[in-house]
């Protein structure tokens, strides 16, 4: 039964909703699009006040697979998030979060480890405290490791080995960058568990991963003053004995790798790409080239303008996708072709022909214009997407003390000319490519058969 008072307060809420809708036409629709940054006793944080009842909060640590000192550490640390801490048990964390209606997540990329939470705006203090607790007071108990974490790591390894796409991408990264960025995203052999990982090694890694200079807090949909206040309070006495993680400067190598696999066929043709905007060699033309090659249609009922989706129309058994994968100090332009062996083989040949045609200059002006527009949209859209935005912003703060600002990147993409795109395609072909074929090796072609330089 509802009491009278709760009904009354419900009415008030309803009235408030209506008054919120009565905003003047000239008033801004939401908070600022760019992040405001701050520093609380050495802990960097950024926030932006998107209007809305929920907040997304995350701790972004520079502790992705690239920085791990032993294989599998990042995966292990990720799975230790929200486990028993000095103050409360894992079960309690879960139950409390459920009662508040929140959502917890932990994931990693090659460069970052993200520990995140989504919740109602009012609960900000609780979750800021929780993140601080996870980072500084997690108990790395060996029974938690053997009972809960080892099975999870084994599952992720199985999942990784079952997917030809993940294997091919990982193999292309390994060819391109060897160590560092080339480290597989998930442990690729059982060595990680049997030889290198245990609760102590993970704890040691955590000390470095969660040292003050190595992570940043990013909030979406929270007032900056609130974030400043609570981060200041809960990260005040924050300290770990570690001194941060650092990797070597990435260098591009290139080469070819072929892996037999029974359950699918994937080829990845990867070339040296562009760093992120905060990195040393940012090349917006690579992003445009990726859009131009494309492969996936962005509109309904048509293959779209991108060259590879047009070319791929005659190979319905293969899906083609071109991505410009960007890291802080290196990048890859990768064409992923996935599907039945024969179609993958012919589509790969077609893709190489297309890149050569762009380098040769036989490309319509119209297409480049469309590619620029598409690249700009994709960039802005991915930055606006809260999850990718959080990781980019956090990484920007940790690496360079500067939040990732979309507007500048978009401007750079706008400034790309036709000449630059052709030049970029030419340099791709001049340097060594990283070619990885996973699947039916009898049919999948070698790099030399495709006419690529490895």
């Amino acid at each position: 039964m509802y009491s009278r008072s709760s009904l009354r307060s419900g009415n008030k809420a309803l009235r408030c909703l209506q008054c919120g809708q009565k905003r003047g036409l000239a008033a801004p629709a939401s908070g600022s699009f760019a992040y405001q940054t701050g520093d609380a006793a050495g802990t960097k944080f950024a926030s932006r006040d998107l209007s809305g009842p929920t907040t997304t909060l995350a701790l972004v640590a520079k502790a992705g697979t690239r920085f791990q000192t032993l294989p599998g550490l990042t995966e292990g640390l990720q799975n230790f998030a929200f486990r028993n801490t000095e103050k409360r048990s894992a079960l309690r964390v879960v139950r409390e979060t459920e009662l508040l209606g929140g959502e917890l997540s932990a994931y990693h990329s090659r460069e970052n480890l993200v520990i995140g939470a989504k919740f109602l705006r009012d609960d900000l203090p609780y979750f800021v405290e929780l993140l601080s607790e996870v980072a500084s007071q997690t108990k790395y108990q060996s029974h938690v490791y053997t009972e809960d974490i080892v099975p999870l790591i084994k599952l992720s390894q199985k999942k990784f080995l079952a997917s030809t796409k993940a294997m091919a991408l990982s193999s292309a990264h390994a060819l391109a960058f060897h160590r560092g960025l080339g480290t597989p995203l998930y442990p690729s052999s059982s060595n990680a568990v049997s030889k290198y990982l245990n609760a102590e090694t993970i704890e040691e890694y955590a000390q470095n991963a969660y040292s003050k200079s190595n992570f940043a807090i990013v909030a979406n949909g929270a007032e900056h003053s609130e974030v400043t206040k609570w981060v200041g309070e809960f990260f005040k006495d924050f300290s770990t004995s570690g001194s941060g993680l650092s990797g070597e400067q990435s260098k591009y190598y290139g080469g070819e790798e072929r892996i037999a696999h029974a359950s699918g066929n994937t080829m990845v043709l990867a070339f040296s790409g562009s760093t992120s905007h905060t990195g040393s060699s940012y090349k917006p033309e690579i992003q445009v080239l990726a859009s131009l090659l494309g492969g996936q249609s962005s509109i309904k009922w048509s293959p779209g303008f991108s060259l590879l989706s047009k070319a791929g129309a005659s190979f319905p058994g293969a899906t083609i996708d071109t991505k410009s994968v960007i890291y802080s100090d290196a990048g890859l332009l990768s064409v992923t072709i996935d599907g039945s062996a024969k179609d993958v083989a012919s589509a790969a040949a077609e893709a190489v022909k297309t890149i050569k045609a762009i380098a040769g200059g036989s490309i319509a002006k119209e297409d480049i214009k469309k590619a620029i527009a598409n690249a700009k949209f994709a960039e802005l859209e991915s930055g606006q997407n809260i999850n990718t935005g959080i990781e980019l912003t956090g990484a920007g703060l940790v690496h360079g003390g500067k939040a990732y600002q979309l507007d500048e990147t978009a401007k750079e993409i706008d400034g790309v000319t036709e000449e630059k795109v052709k030049q970029a395609a030419k340099t791709l072909l001049e340097h060594k490519a990283s070619i990885s074929a996973v699947g039916d090796l009898y049919i999948l072609p070698y790099a030399t058969e495709l006419g690529l330089n490895v």
Partner: protein, 127 residues
């Protein structure tokens, strides 16, 4: 399942403790497990999920030593013999190695039950 114990009750009262200690020492010695090289925690019945889980959580060295002590005790029992005096478990060796783990697991279970039985009161909205 840890053993029921009056120890806390007794330790709180120094006069009672002084009175009980010789009695306890006599009882433990008379129980005879030390003469078979066992420790008190080796006698905890294994037939419960809690204890089985606790045994899994023992560090490998402890688990190995436990099995060794038990096999030695079985052997002695079968051959109707006691260990030579120097191999008896010494008083300072007879420490609880399993009880802390069992207590930890019981605390976990209790917390789970408490959370399950919890009644949620919604706090008034802050705005």
């Amino acid at each position: 399942m840890s053993q029921p114990s009056l120890a806390k009750f007794v330790i709180k009262r120094p006069w009672l403790k002084r009175w009980m200690t010789p009695l306890a020492n006599w009882y433990v010695d008379a129980a005879g497990y030390r003469k078979l090289g066992l420790r008190a925690d080796d006698l905890i019945p294994e037939e419960s999920d809690t204890v089985l889980l606790a045994l899994k959580r023992l560090p490998p060295k402890e688990a190995y030593d436990r099995v060794f002590r038990m096999r030695r005790a079985f052997q002695c029992s079968l051959s109707h013999q006691l260990l030579p005096k120097e191999e008896h478990t010494k008083v300072e060796e007879d420490v609880p190695y399993l009880t802390p783990i069992i207590e930890e697991i019981e605390a976990e279970l209790k917390e789970r039950e408490d959370l399950e039985a919890m009644v949620v009161n919604k706090k008034p909205s802050r705005t």
